[in-house]
C-alpha cells in the first residue's frame, strides 16, 4: 500500500546556507480519512537529523511519533494524506512515486519496528529474509547474498551465524530476532536508521544488549539514528538530541543534556518528573494529570493546556508555534519564563496541591 502523498508544501526553512542535514522534516502533517471522518494524527513535525547523529523522539503512544516517521518513508496506509516536507540528503521525499521510494527504503533509509516476534516472516528463513533485503538493492547472486547474510548476523553478534542463517524466526529468541531485524536493516549500509521502539517488547537485560548493538553499529557505520521511544531512560543514555512529541506535534527539541537539565516545556517537565528515582523514596510516582486528548478532539489553543499546571489565559486560545529559544526549540508561550526546573520539587509541589492522578 503506497502512501498517497499529496502536494508538497514548498518553503522548507532549511536553505542550502548551512550544511544540509541528512534528514530534514518541516511541517509534516498526516491526516486520515475514515468513513467520511477526518482527523490529523500528525499536526506538524519539524526535525533534523545530521549524519552520524542519534536523535530521540519521545512521546506517549498515539502521539504520532511512529505515524510521522512512517509517513516520511511513504509507508502510511492508502487513506493517509501526507503534507509538508521531508528532505533526505537534499532530496524531497514527499510526493515521490512509490517506485522511487522503494529505491530509497531499505537502501538509504532503513526502519525497524517494535515487535521482533512479528517483524520477521514466519515462513521464511532468517537468512532468506536478510538476503532478500540485499538482493532488492544490490546486483548480487543468491549465493553472495546469503554469504552477506552470514556476515551481517555476525556483525550483530549472533553466535554461529552459519547455522543460524538457515533457521526460521521461531527458532530465534526475542533478542536474537531483533538482532536479525537490525542486521536486515543495515544490509545495504544505509545512511539513516529509524528504530521504532526497538526494545519495548524485550526483557530489560536484552534491551540493553540491543541498544548497545544499535549504538556500536551506528558508530561503526556512521549511521544517522532516529530512536522512537516512550522511554526517557533510553533517550538519556543514547541520544545526542531529543524531540518531544505531544498529540501530533514536536513541543520541544534540544540537546539531551540541556533537555534533562532544563526542560523548557511543561510536558517535558512532567515526563522527566515521572521517571522513577532510586535516590528519593516517594510514596507515589509522579504522573501528569489527565490523559492525552483523543485525535480529532483537540482542545482549543495549546493541546497540552488542560493538563498543564502553568497554563494561563492565552494558552487556551493560542496554539504556540515551535520557536527558537537560543539554539533549542519549545512550543510553549512560557518557554523562557518557566521557573527553574527541579524534578523532585515539581513532583512535591503537585503532590501537595493534590493534582496527582489516582
Amino acid at each position: 500500500m503506497s502512501a498517497q502523498i499529496s502536494s508538497a508544501r514548498p518553503g522548507a526553512i532549511n536553505s542550502a546556507s548551512d550544511r544540509e542535514p541528512l534528514l530534514s522534516i518541516r511541517g509534516l502533517r498526516v491526516g486520515f480519512r475514515r468513513a467520511g471522518d477526518q482527523f490529523e494524527a500528525v499536526r506538524g513535525i519539524d526535525l533534523d537529523v545530521a549524519k552520524g547523529e542519534v536523535v530521540g523522539i519521545v512521546g506517549e503512544s498515539g502521539s504520532g511519533k511512529t505515524v510521522g516517521m512512517l509517513a516520511a518513508l511513504g509507508l502510511t496506509s492508502k487513506n493517509a494524506v501526507v503534507t509538508g516536507s521531508v528532505r533526505f540528503n537534499g532530496d524531497e521525499l514527499v510526493g515521490k512515486s512509490s517506485r522511487e521510494m522503494r529505491k530509497i527504503r531499505g537502501a538509504r533509509i532503513a526502519m525497524i519496528f517494535q515487535d521482533p516476534l512479528s517483524s520477521l516472516n514466519p515462513v521464511m528463513t532468517v537468512g532468506a529474509q536478510i538476503a532478500e533485503a540485499v538482493r532488492l538493492h544490490q546486483r548480487v547472486t543468491r549465493k553472495q547474498a546469503m554469504a552477506r547474510a552470514v556476515e551481517l548476523l555476525h556483525l550483530v553478534a549472533i553466535p554461529q551465524p552459519e547455522r543460524r542463517v538457515n533457521q526460521y524466526p521461531h527458532e530465534f529468541s526475542g533478542g536474537m530476532r531483533q538482532r536479525a531485524v537490525i542486521a536486515m536493516a543495515v544490509a545495504n549500509d544505509p545512511d539513516l536508521l529509524i528504530a521504532d521502539e526497538p526494545t519495548t517488547a524485550l526483557d530489560v537485560t536484552v534491551q540493553a544488549q540491543i541498544l548497545s548493538v544499535l549504538r556500536s553499529l551506528q558508530e561503526r557505520l556512521g549511521l544517522g539514528l532516529v530512536l522512537i521511544t516512550h522511554d526517557l531512560g533510553v533517550v538519556a543514555g543514547h541520544a545526542d538530541r531529543v524531540a518531544v512529541v505531544y498529540s501530533g506535534r514536536v513541543v520541544e527539541q534540544a540537546g539531551v543534556s540541556e533537555l534533562f537539565a532544563d526542560p523548557r516545556h511543561p510536558y517535558t517537565r512532567g515526563l522527566i518528573a515521572s521517571i522513577p528515582n532510586l535516590e528519593e523514596s516517594r510514596e507515589r510516582l509522579f504522573s501528569i494529570d489527565g490523559s492525552p486528548p483523543a485525535l480529532g478532539r483537540l482542545p482549543g489553543g495549546c493541546a497540552f493546556h488542560p493538563r498543564c499546571i502553568y497554563a494561563e489565559a492565552r494558552c487556551r486560545t493560542e496554539d504556540p508555534p515551535l520557536h527558537d529559544i537560543g539554539g533549542r526549540f519549545s512550543a510553549c508561550h512560557l518557554a523562557t519564563t518557566l521557573p527553574p526546573f527541579h524534578s523532585a520539587s515539581l513532583a512535591a509541589a503537585s503532590l501537595d496541591s493534590g493534582s496527582v492522578a489516582p
Binding site: S98, I104, V123, M184
Partner: protein, 326 residues
C-alpha cells in the same frame, strides 16, 4: 489409519444391509420373482442366503485380497469397474481444482488487497453464486449458453465419440492423447473438459476465495509485511512472497478437503455432462441397488478422503516450518 479404513468398510457394508430395497430386484427379472426356485438360486449364487456376520467376514477377506466383489449389474468385478471409471473422475476433479484454486486464490488476494472496492464486491458475488448455485442449474445453464446458443464448446461427454482414442496409459484422456501425440483427441478432450471443470471448480473457488481473503486481511496487517515494505520490496513481492505464503496453511486444508469432496461429490456434474466417471457409476449402482458397487464406491471415496488428508498433512510441513521436526 487402518482403523479408519476398517470403519469406512464396516459402515458402508452395514448401511447397505439396513436399506429397505431388495437387491434381488436387480438380479432377478421381474417375471421370475414369483418363481421360488429362481429366487433361491439367485440368493445362493450371490450369497444372500447367508447370515449377515458371515457375509461381512467373506466380504472382508475378499477385500483383503483386493477383491471388491462382483457387480450385480455389469457382472464385472467392482474393482475393475471403478478403476475404469476413476481416471475420468480424477481428470475432471484435477481440472476443476486447477480452476477452483487459481480463481479462488487470485480473487481472494485481489479482494483483500482492494478491500471494499468494486473488485472486492465482484469477487464476493462470484463466490456467492459459485457456492450457492446448484451444479445442475449452473451446469445446464452454461451448457445451454456456450454449447447450444454460442456453439463455442462441445456438448456433454468426455470426447467426440467418432474419434479413435489413444491407448489408456494413465486413464487421463488429455495426458494419454499427449503421450500418443494425438493433437486432435487432446484438443477435443480439453474442450470437453473445460465446462464441467469450470462448473465444478466454481463451487470450490467460492470457499477458497473467501478464506484467502479473510486470512490475507489478517496477515497484511502484521508487522512483517511492514518490514518487507520498509526493505523496499515491491507491492507484488509483499503480497505474494510475504503475505500469501503465510495464508497457505488454512488454504491447503480447504483445498485438500475440496479435492476429496469433489471426488465423491462430482455426481451431479458427471450426470449432467454425461461424464463416464465414478459419480455416474455410483448413480447407476444406487438406482439398481447394486450393493457391491455401492459399497465399492463408498470405500474408494472414503479412501480418497484419507489419502488427500494425508497429502495435506505432508504439505503442511512444507508450508509451515513451525510444524517441522528438527
Amino acid at each position: 489409519m487402518p482403523f479408519l479404513v476398517l470403519g469406512i468398510v464396516t459402515i458402508a457394508f452395514l448401511i447397505t444391509t439396513v436399506t429397505k430395497g431388495d437387491p434381488l430386484t436387480a438380479i432377478v427379472a421381474e417375471q421370475q420373482m414369483s418363481n421360488p426356485e429362481v429366487v433361491a438360486a439367485a440368493k445362493a449364487r450371490w450369497g444372500l442366503d447367508r447370515p449377515l456376520p458371515e457375509r461381512y467376514m467373506i466380504y472382508l477377506s475378499n477385500l483383503l485380497s483386493g477383491d471388491l466383489g462382483t457387480s450385480f449389474i455389469t457382472k464385472r468385478n467392482v474393482g475393475t469397474d471403478i478403476l475404469y471409471r476413476l481416471p475420468a473422475t480424477l481428470e475432471l476433479v484435477f481440472a476443476a481444482m486447477i480452476f477452483g484454486t487459481t480463481l479462488g486464490i487470485v480473487l481472494g488476494v485481489l479482494a483483500a488487497y482492494f478491500r471494499n472496492s468494486l473488485i472486492d464486491h465482484g469477487a464476493r458475488l462470484f463466490a456467492l453464486f459459485g457456492s450457492s448455485l446448484p451444479v445442475f442449474w449452473s451446469g445446464l445453464g452454461l451448457l445451454f449458453i456456450f454449447s447450444v446458443m454460442l456453439n463455442w464448446l462441445p456438448g456433454p461427454g468426455r470426447v467426440d465419440a467418432r474419434l479413435a482414442l489413444p491407448p489408456g496409459i494413465t486413464g487421463f484422456l488429455t495426458i494419454d492423447s499427449l503421450l500418443a501425440g494425438d493433437w486432435t483427441v487432446f484438443k477435443d478432450a480439453l474442450w470437453h473438459l473445460l465446462l464441467p471443470a469450470f462448473v465444478l471448480g466454481w463451487t470450490v473457488s467460492g470457499t477458497i476465495s473467501r478464506l484467502v481473503r479473510a486470512n490475507m486481511l489478517d496477515v497484511m496487517s502484521r508487522e512483517f509485511v511492514l518490514t518487507a515494505r520498509a526493505k523496499g520490496a515491491s507491492e507484488f513481492r509483499v503480497v505474494i512472497v510475504h503475505a500469501l505464503r503465510n495464508t497457505m496453511v488454512p488454504t491447503l486444508t480447504v483445498i485438500g478437503y475440496s479435492f476429496a469432496y469433489l471426488i465423491t461429490g462430482a455426481v451431479l456434474t458427471e450426470t449432467i455432462f454425461s461424464w463416464p466417471g465414478m459419480g455416474s457409476y455410483a448413480v447407476e449402482a444406487a438406482r439398481a441397488l447394486d450393493f457391491p458397487a455401492i459399497i465399492g464406491v463408498t470405500i474408494v471415496g472414503g479412501l480418497a478422503f484419507l489419502v488427500t488428508n494425508l497429502i495435506t498433512d505432508i504439505l503442511y510441513v512444507v508450508a509451515n516450518p513451525r510444524v517441522r521436526l528438527s
